[in-house]
Amino acid sequence: MAKKMKIKAKEKKGIVKVKAMFTSLMADKEEAVKKGIKASYIKYIVAKVNDVVVYEVTMSGFMSENPLIKFKFHGKKGDKIIFTTIDNNGKEQTGKKKIK
């Protein structure tokens, strides 16, 4: 279901601000029954820079559709941030972005 993720990462004074958006219906069991579709939601998101975890969250289907997350961490320009998401069916997706 999910196709793309949009990532923005900007560095300012040693702090990197990240905005990321994932495409997912985020439909849990009840909602899926109502709409007549299969349950599908992202259950796990992790972001890494140089193999160090900077963001990690486990979610249920009660996050809103196409989840948008924002966070900050200590980092520097030029590094690559790698996002990995896993949905309830075990499907994995990754996305990369250079920190500006």
Binding site: D28, K43, E56, V57, T58, I69
Partner: protein, 153 residues
């Protein structure tokens, strides 16, 4: 103390250290605490995820949320904290299962998380943070009015 007893005490102490140690390394909360994801009530959910430890209210753990949410399908929430927390969880009573999300906070992270949740109806949202090392639980809660339900209705 004779040697046999000493060894026993040592083993018990070792076990006591190791058990919370494995808890700290929990990466995927859905695998390590599958029960917590099925519980309906916030109070029971907190117990299932963090155990029976007492909750403390703290000014250092806060979250921003609108008082009145027009669209229950996407309620923006910002969690901020100056404490050294190892995990933060968000619970609400509006949905069939109370747990919305659990953050595992890496070391030296800036705790300022922004995300959106769904809520079916007006309910109290509670966030619980667990301090690194001491394991003290901090909490903050707020009631959010929802005018239109978010879960497909």
């Amino acid at each position: 103390m004779d040697r046999r007893k000493f060894l026993g005490v040592g083993l018990a102490a070792f076990a006591a250290i190791v058990v919370p140690g494995t808890d700290l390394k929990a990466m995927n909360f859905r695998e390590t605490k599958p029960k917590a994801w099925e519980i309906e009530k916030t109070v029971d959910g907190i117990k299932a995820l963090y155990g029976n430890a007492g909750l403390k209210k703290s000014d250092k753990l806060t979250f921003k949320a609108p008082k009145l949410a027009e669209n229950g399908g996407s309620i923006p929430i910002t969690i901020k904290s100056s404490l050294d927390l190892e995990s933060i969880a968000l619970f609400q009573d509006a949905n069939p299962r109370c747990l919305s999300c659990v953050f595992s906070v890496p070391k030296d992270a800036i705790i300022e998380y922004d995300f959106r949740i769904k809520m079916r109806q007006t309910a109290v949202v509670t966030i619980v943070g667990k301090e690194r090392g001491t394991g003290t639980l901090y909490t903050a809660s707020k009631e959010i009015d929802v005018s239109i339900g978010g879960c497909g209705g």
